[in-house]
C-alpha cells in the first residue's frame, strides 16, 4: 500500500484535522514513518502545483485548497467575515510569533491593555487557549488555530513572514550600545526575546 496515497485519500474524506498518532494507527505503521509520508505528501502537493495542500498545526493535519486559489474559490466558498482592526492584528501577531504566550505578554509587547481584542480573537476562533503556564497564577496560554492558518493562507506556522527587522535591530542595538563615552562592561544583551 502506498502510504502517501492512503493519507491523501484519508485526509480527503476526513471532516476534521487528524493527529499524527491517529494517522499512524490507521495505517498501522510506526509514527515516524507516518510523519515521513505526510511530509513527503505535503512536499509533493506543493511541488506539483496541485490544487490541494497539506496544512499542519502542531500534531494535526488537514487537507485544504491551495492558498493561491483562494481568491478564485472565494466566489463559491466565501465566508463573510469582517476585517480585523489594527489592534486585533497586532495582538494576533504577538500570539502567532510568541506562542504559546499569555495575555500579559501581549499587553507588554503592545504596551496597552489587549483584553478586548484578545476576546475578539478567541471568539472568532483565530486563537485558542492551549494550556496553562506553570508559574504562579497559572496564566492561560494562547496559541493560533487552524482557522488562523486557513484565513491567512498558511500551510503551517513556518510560513509566517519572518520577523526580519527584530533580530537585526536588536543586534544593531547591541553594537551601538558600547559606543557610549565610557567603555561599557561586556554585558552581552539577552538576544532571546522569543
Amino acid at each position: 500500500m502506498d502510504l502517501q496515497a492512503f493519507y491523501e485519500a484519508l485526509l480527503f474524506i476526513a471532516e476534521r484535522p487528524l493527529a499524527t498518532a491517529e494517522l499512524a494507527e490507521l495505517a498501522e505503521v510506526p509514527r515516524l514513518q507516518a510523519e515521513g509520508a505526510l511530509a513527503a505528501l505535503s512536499e509533493q502537493l506543493t511541488d506539483d502545483g496541485r490544487g490541494l495542500r497539506l496544512q499542519r498545526m502542531g500534531e494535526e493535519w488537514q487537507l485544504v485548497t491551495a492558498p493561491e486559489l483562494g481568491g478564485r474559490l472565494a466566489a463559491y466558498a466565501a465566508r463573510q467575515e469582517s476585517r480585523l482592526t489594527t489592534a486585533a492584528l497586532e495582538a494576533l501577531a504577538v500570539v502567532a510569533y510568541r506562542q504559546p504566550c499569555t495575555r500579559s505578554e501581549v499587553d507588554r509587547v503592545r504596551g496597552v491593555d489587549s483584553d478586548y481584542v484578545i476576546r475578539t480573537l478567541l471568539h472568532r476562533r483565530l486563537i485558542a487557549e492551549v494550556g496553562r503556564r506553570d508559574t504562579p497564577g497559572r496564566p492561560v496560554l494562547l496559541g493560533t488555530t487552524f482557522t488562523f492558518l486557513e484565513r491567512f493562507g498558511l500551510t503551517s506556522l513556518d510560513d509566517l513572514p519572518p520577523l526580519s527587522s527584530e533580530a537585526a535591530s536588536l543586534a544593531a542595538l547591541s553594537a551601538v550600545a558600547p559606543q557610549a563615552d565610557e567603555p561599557a562592561p561586556a554585558a552581552p544583551e539577552p538576544a532571546d526575546v522569543g
Partner: protein
C-alpha cells in the same frame, strides 16, 4: 552618549504630521519617531518627550487606555529631566541608570516594531489567499429533525400556556395604619365629649392594634402634660378616669 540636540521641530514653522491612528503608546512613540525620519536605534528618546505629550494633549485617548500612555509619557519625561541635570561623574564600571532605562524602552520599541510590521504583512494576507477545508458531512453535524416541524406545535404550546391559571393578583400592599398622638388626642377629646370625662379603658378597647393603644396612652399623658386633662385611678389596674380640665379653670 551624545548630547547634541536633534532638530525635531524647527521654531516658527508649524510642523504638522498627520499620524495614523495609533494602537497604543508604543505605536504612537514609534510613529512620532518615524514621521521625523529619525532612527529608532539612535534617536535620544528623551527628545521625544515633548512631542509625545503634545500629541496626547491634541489627540486624547480613551480613558481606559490613558494609564498606559501616561506610563510611557512619564518614562520619557524622566529621561528628559535626567538629561537636563548636569552630568555627574560616575564610578567607572557602573552602568548608567538613565542609559539602562532608555535602552529598555528602546528595546521594547524595537520588539513592538517587529511585531507591528509583521501584523501589517499579515493584514495584506488576510483573506487574500485563504485555504478552504472540506465542510463537515451532514452526518457529522448535530442531529436535526428530518421534517419541518408542524406549525401546530406552536399553537398547541400557546394553548397549554393558556390553560395554566392566571397567577393570583398579588394582595394589595399592606400599609401600616399610621396613628399619631395628635389623632389620638382628638379621639380622646371626642370620647370625653360634653360630659368632659371618659374611662380610658373604654377608649382602649376600641383600638385596633397594640400601636394604637400605645399612642392613645401617650396622647393621654400629653393631655395631662398640657394640663388639659387630669387622670384618676383609685386602685391598681382599676379604671382610669380621664377628666377634661375646663378652660376657665385651667388658665
Amino acid at each position: 552618549m551624545s548630547l547634541e540636540p536633534i532638530p525635531i521641530e524647527s521654531e516658527g514653522s508649524a510642523f504638522q504630521v498627520e499620524l495614523e491612528v495609533f494602537s497604543g503608546p508604543l505605536d504612537l512613540l514609534l510613529q512620532l519617531i518615524e514621521s521625523r525620519q529619525l532612527d529608532v536605534l539612535t534617536v535620544p528618546l528623551a527628545e521625544m518627550a515633548d512631542a509625545f505629550v503634545e500629541h496626547l494633549a491634541d489627540h486624547p485617548v480613551a480613558a481606559d487606555e490613558l494609564a498606559d500612555f501616561v506610563s510611557v509619557a512619564s518614562q520619557l519625561i524622566l529621561l528628559k529631566s535626567r538629561r537636563m541635570l548636569p552630568a555627574e561623574p560616575l564610578p567607572a564600571g557602573l552602568p548608567e541608570e538613565a542609559e539602562a532605562d532608555e535602552e529598555e524602552l528602546r528595546r521594547r520599541l524595537l520588539e513592538y516594531r517587529a511585531l507591528r510590521d509583521a501584523a501589517r504583512e499579515l493584514a495584506e494576507w488576510d483573506h487574500s489567499r485563504p485555504t478552504y477545508r472540506r465542510e463537515p458531512r451532514e452526518e457529522d453535524l448535530p442531529e436535526t429533525p428530518e421534517e419541518a416541524l408542524p406549525p401546530s406545535l406552536l399553537s398547541d404550546a400557546l394553548q397549554r400556556l393558556a390553560a395554566i391559571p392566571e397567577p393570583q393578583p398579588a394582595p394589595p400592599e399592606v400599609v401600616p395604619r399610621e396613628v399619631t398622638i395628635a389623632m389620638q388626642i382628638a379621639a380622646l377629646r371626642a370620647a370625653m365629649g360634653s360630659a368632659g370625662r371618659v374611662v380610658l379603658q373604654r377608649v382602649l378597647a376600641a383600638c385596633h392594634s397594640r400601636t394604637e393603644v400605645t399612642v392613645t396612652v401617650l396622647a393621654m399623658l400629653e393631655l395631662v402634660r398640657r394640663r388639659q386633662a387630669t387622670v384618676e385611678q383609685d386602685e391598681l389596674f382599676g379604671p382610669i378616669l380621664l377628666r377634661a380640665v375646663r378652660r376657665g379653670a385651667a388658665s
